[in-house]
Symmetry: C2
Subunit: 347 residues, 2 copies
């Protein structure tokens, strides 16, 4: 299964039939998948349902000049799985809403679906429904559905003063990848891991679930808009503030070297770049130290600061207060239209 899907040849019904064939029969806990007015889910006993939606729009979130359709398919689902993971949820399935031009080639649509369904299989999150329509440009939205045991979802709103601020993985790589792609620099030495990170994000699915199982985190959020922006969301929902030590923010391997050779600072990418799809979470003071915890959870974890009762974020660099402009990605705000890693983000 797989291969080209020509919209003009297949028509809407032909596309749906192909998706249904390629997605396979609905399996438990799904009673009904593609092919009815709606999908039907027998929610596992003792579980709460977790629902999240994300939209990717052509020329806003991606360009076909810089992404291949298969990577786009992968990423469309991955960004939603990132949200489920940060809630501590196990994926159950997803609905796909696809708006594409009638002139879309069979290779482009087929490649997109191949990438999407490969990611669906590897994360055991089947396609169970959706809608396909004609649109002036590609607009893809996924609604992903997961489960958590009753009352155990990791929310943004549980952080308390004194909690430790922890981030998984390393940051800034996806943003550097985007910067390189936008400038046709994907072939330069050292670019490959950043390009891959941008096009094929791999959110740490299991980390969120393990954190939830062990009841360790007091609050959590996935890093999609950038650390500074997403930290702000978590703190606002929790009604607290934080101190962040900028020297501790984990930079993607090779980020510093490649940024320096390109002539700009790496830190703003890690702070505001977005699309790292790591998890930012808070731990009670008395939780295990970060080293054994990393081993226990099977993930790289870094403590970057402390939650405070005073609202707002105070950044510290080499012992002194540092000013960081919030420059995470925000739609409609003119200054964030283009992500500029070379913009002044600290002083």
């Amino acid at each position: 299964v797989g291969g080209p899907l020509d919209p003009r040849e297949l028509g809407e019904l032909g596309i749906i039939a192909a998706l249904r064939r390629r997605a396979g029969r609905a399996r438990a806990p799904w009673r009904v998948g593609i092919g009815d007015d709606a999908a039907v889910l027998r929610v596992p006993a003792g579980s709460e349902l977790v629902l999240t939606s994300d939209v990717l729009a052509e020329d806003v979130h991606f360009r076909f000049r810089t992404t291949d359709p298969t990577s786009l398919g992968h990423k469309t689902l991955a960004v939603n799985l990132s949200d489920l993971g940060a809630m501590g949820a196990r994926p159950l399935g997803f609905l796909l809403c696809l708006g594409i031009p009638a002139s879309t080639s069979g290779e482009r649509l087929g490649g997109f679906i191949d990438g999407l369904l490969a990611e669906a299989r590897s994360s055991r999150c089947p396609l169970v429904g959706g809608d396909t329509v004609e649109a002036p440009a590609w607009v893809v939205s996924v609604t992903a559905c997961g489960e958590v045991p009753r009352g155990q979802a990791l929310l943004r709103r549980g952080a308390r003063p004194g909690d430790r601020l922890v981030v998984s993985g390393a940051l800034g790589g996806a943003a550097l990848g985007l910067w390189l792609l936008e400038r046709d620099l994907r072939e330069i030495s050292g670019a490959a891991p950043f390009i891959r990170r941008q096009l094929r994000p791999r959110p740490p699915h299991r980390l969120g679930r393990r954190l939830r199982e062990r009841g360790l985190a007091t609050a959590a959020i996935d890093l999609s808009d950038g650390l500074s922006r997403d930290l702000g969301h978590l703190l606002r929902e929790s009604g607290v503030g934080a101190e962040v030590d900028l020297e501790r923010v984990p930079l993607a391997a090779g980020l510093r070297a490649l940024c320096r050779s390109l002539g700009f600072e790496p830190l703003p990418l890690a702070l505001h770049g977005g699309e790292d799809y790591e998890i930012l979470f808070t731990l009670p003071k008395r939780a295990p130290p970060i080293e054994p915890l990393s081993r226990l959870l099977g993930a790289r974890l870094t403590e970057i600061g402390t939650v405070t009762a005073a609202r707002g974020v105070r950044y510290r660099l080499r012992g002194a207060q540092a000013r960081v402009t919030d420059a995470g990605f925000e739609h409609f705000a003119p200054r964030s239209r283009v992500k500029r890693p070379d913009s002044p983000a600290e002083k």
Copy 2:
């Protein structure tokens, strides 16, 4: 609550904050609504979850030349509630994925949200999450979530030979409304109910639930693509065929008169027009006669034919076989790009 929402003034976060304020706090069975990585639902005990998505794209499904933003907001949710209704499900809540140009006026976005949330309140289906992004044109998708008692969802796939084919309400009105809107004829005498039907569909929510409660229907589908097309879906899923008596197809009040005065046949509108959002369902032979059933269920019901073991649909007109071209709306198929009520659909 309500009023303009200027995207450039508010930015993405400001829009989300306004939606959250206007949608109000999440209430049971929702544990978490807008404002986290995902919404969390405590699924009512003994229920199965029903999930459906629909996309509306500017200049494909609607034009702002012919619809006001408030009606668009209403319709966006209503078309999803139609799918839930045809499954026999009770609405629980919905997620909104909104792609809009940065140049969208505050009045347009505010009006859309007003219409959407008014419909959400009147159908007790709250907004619980979603995503808002910039896009070259409006693309709106809703994922609606409902519940049915275990194993009781009304599916497309239960029709059996000998079953009676029944349709709710009357057909063709929404398609005539679209035809009039597209030609700037909304002011002509008799146009108003058809325009309203097109812009403000009111799917028979309760009918589906009552059918399900009484265990009467063997299969059901909502009429979005047009009777001929949706009948085809239902029959295909059930592995059966049907005979339809064209003289029995219920035409919207005033449809015949206005069509005649405009110079075309009304029947093709009722057969292929789409967007009526009524329910087509099948009943066992031994179910009550249609008159008492209509009274019992509080809905206008019309028996239009019979399910047959032989696949395909045979249409009959004045006792003779009639040929009906399947001309329901399908994306990407060149001939369905424009809905033409004056196209030859029977002979």
